[in-house]
């Protein structure tokens, strides 16, 4: 087996706040191969966005990041920030939710792409402009020469997300992190944007992390899916395996709460309880109090992420 593009082992993130330390991520480990799309799924507050921000070095100063290993394309990122800042935006790029506010409101979108191009390589002014227009054309924006001159407020949300994608891909990164890229877009635009991301990722043999709360979306577009709950990665498997052989009670709950073509609204089940308060002392299994399968030793014995099949791991003592 080849060396993965991104390898993360034992990543923990704590936020120091006035009301105590919030243990947002605990012992998260995963890897991504070249050309693979990994979906990270979880409800709001499960730590999926924090995970991507930690990888990109975008967290505030009050975040404490600890990890055993973070390597990306052979580079050790688990150290001083300089290694990361050398590749950020060029090898490792990211797009965000709410694309309209994610772009500088008072700068032409073409100029914003140019800024990224000029930052990461010696490009002349006229070449940069041509490259920016080419980047806009690549994300299938009609009439890219004219759109180059547009301000974000003159474009629709879907158009702005395409501009974001064009900007993120302008330097041909090897990993694209997409943080809920379709949140805030209408349903037809969502499908168009997701198709575009998948096509571009496949075309240029990039890898991608898709962060979403939508399990159905992840199942459709991703090769592998990792499920997160309260800062733990509770299950990780190929999309097909996860769909048919999910092993964690939380994953089962997520599937039961996801509508499909032949479920009625009444058939959808909600997962009881809420996420635990991450400022308190937490049991080894953070799903404990919402779980109907819990046993006495769930409260005390450590629960490691264990392999239960080829490319299928689960963090549960009593998997399904």
């Amino acid at each position: 087996m080849s060396v993965p593009l991104l390898q993360v082992d034992g990543l923990s993130v704590n936020f120091r706040t006035r009301s105590g330390t919030v243990k947002v991520l605990d012992d998260v480990s995963f890897s991504i191969d070249k050309g693979e799309i990994l979906g990270i799924v979880g409800e709001s507050g499960s730590g999926k966005s924090v995970l991507s921000y930690a990888l990109m070095g975008l967290l505030d100063d009050n975040a404490q990041i600890k990890a055993d290993t973070i390597t990306f394309g052979g580079i050790d990122l688990n150290g001083p920030a300089s290694a990361l800042s050398a590749i950020r935006g060029r090898e490792l790029s990211m797009i965000f939710q709410s694309p309209r506010t994610a772009l500088n409101p008072i700068m032409k979108v073409g100029k914003q792409i140019e800024d990224v191009l000029r930052r990461h390589g010696p490009v002349s002014r006229s070449n940069a402009k041509a490259a920016a227009i080419a980047a806009l054309a690549r994300v299938r924006i009609p009439d890219p020469e004219r759109r180059y001159e547009a301000y974000p407020f003159e474009l629709s949300g879907g158009m702005c997300q395409r501009v974001m994608i064009a900007m993120a891909l302008s330097c041909s990164p090897s990993l694209l992190i997409a943080d809920e890229p379709t949140t805030g877009l209408d349903v037809t635009t969502q499908a168009v944007v997701m198709d575009l991301i998948r096509d571009l990722v496949r075309e240029s043999r990039m890898s991608s992390i898709l962060i979403t709360h939508d399990l159905a979306l992840a199942a459709e577009y991703c090769d592998r899916i990792a499920v997160m709950h309260a800062g733990h990665m509770v299950e990780i498997a190929s999309a097909r395996t996860l769909r048919s052989h999910f092993a964690h009670p939380y994953t089962r709950g997520l599937f039961a709460a996801t509508p499909t073509a032949d479920t009625e609204l009444n058939d959808l089940a909600s997962i009881p309880g809420n996420l635990p308060d991450l400022r308190l002392d937490l049991p080894p299994c953070r799903f404990l109090h919402r779980c109907d399968r819990r046993q006495a030793d769930c409260e005390t014995a450590p629960v490691p992420l264990q392999a239960i099949g080829t490319d299928h791991s689960v963090r549960c003592r009593y998997p399904l």
Partner: protein
């Protein structure tokens, strides 16, 4: 083309404000206590001479007729004659306005030169020493009354240390020749006249009053600059810029600062109008021959025409100022530029 059109629209919206101001200044003079005719006729007036003066001033005519008369005289640039100086009010105002403008602009320049970098530095290093220094300066600047600062500065730098020139007006004309009036700004006129010694001298005269006035403006500028920089730096588009690997300099100055300038420019308009008001006090302390001192004198001596002229001129200045602020905002923000 679109820009020219929206600019023309914006200027056209200033016209109703201008009409409103003319009406208010007219009514203001009529609403002031006392009978103008009695006042103009003098202390030894008889009922007959008062009636005569009333007729001469047109005060016996109906109000709408008086207003028409007032408006038509305004249209010819006639603001009436000042009782105390005996000169046409317009002449007095035009002669004194540059002194106040020069002082106010220098104060604003001083406040911006200190306040903006201070606010930016505080926002980029929140919780660090510079942030606390900024907070202290802002509190002190806002807490001390202008005239107190002015007197304190005069006491220390003129009376005690003897570094500053005597606080008597714009230029000591015993030693220096007053430059021929071109712009009315001594700093510019002395350069145009090629008189560098006079330039230095008028600059030296400006320092203390500008600082006294500017300290007052520094607080709001620094505070707004800090707040809007903080908001800008934590915005989604700055996060994007960081994710794209842009340099810190580019993010702070190219992305955050330009967006943060919008509230700062808006506050500048307000600060400038505060300064025009605060001028009155500083001009008294430094014997500055500006319009503030003129207006105070006019109010004390019930010089109606002068008060009316002063209010009208200030109102027009405010209108122009708001126009300038709007144009500056439009220059920064494309969303405003293409609006309507």
């Amino acid at each position: 083309m679109k820009i020219v059109l929206s600019l023309a629209t914006r200027i056209a919206t200033a016209v109703p404000s201008l009409i409103g101001v003319i009406v208010v200044t007219f009514l203001l003079a009529r609403a002031l206590p006392g009978d103008a005719a009695v006042y103009y006729a003098g202390s030894s007036a008889t009922p007959e001479s008062i009636a005569q003066v009333r007729k001469a001033l047109g005060l016996d005519k109906p109000l709408w007729f008086q207003f028409g008369d007032y408006a038509s005289r305004l249209a010819h640039g006639d603001l009436g004659t000042s009782l105390s100086s005996g000169q046409p009010v317009l002449h007095d105002l035009v002669a004194r306005l540059p002194a106040s403008m020069e002082l106010t602009l220098c104060a604003l320049l001083f406040a911006m030169a200190i306040g903006l970098p201070l606010g930016i530095a505080a926002a980029t290093r929140p919780g660090k020493a510079i942030d606390h220094i900024c907070r202290v300066i802002v509190s002190v600047g806002a807490a001390f009354p202008t005239f107190f600062v002015a007197l304190g500065l005069v006491y220390v730098f003129y009376f005690r240390l003897g570094i500053a020139p005597e606080p008597l007006g714009r230029l000591n004309d015993t030693y220096f020749t007053v430059p021929p009036t071109v712009t009315g700004f001594y700093l510019i006129d002395t350069i145009l006249a090629g008189d560098l010694a006079a330039f230095d001298a008028s600059l030296a005269q400006l320092v203390l009053p500008s600082i006294s006035l500017g300290l007052f403006a520094l607080a709001p500028i620094a505070r707004i600059a800090r707040a809007s920089m903080l908001a800008s730096l934590s915005s989604d588009f700055c996060r994007t810029a960081r994710a794209m690997g842009l340099s810190r300099t580019r993010i702070v100055y190219g992305y955050a600062l330009r967006n943060a300038m919008l509230p700062v420019v808006n506050i500048l308009g307000m600060v400038f109008s505060f300064l025009l008001g605060a001028n009155v006090l500083v001009e008294q302390v430094f014997a500055w021959p500006g319009i503030g001192a003129y207006a105070v004198n006019a109010v004390i001596t019930s010089d109606y025409a002068a008060v009316q002229g002063f209010v009208l001129m200030m109102a027009i200045l405010y209108i122009l100022l708001n126009l300038a602020v709007d144009l500056a905002v439009a220059a920064i923000d494309p969303r405003v530029r293409y609006d309507g």
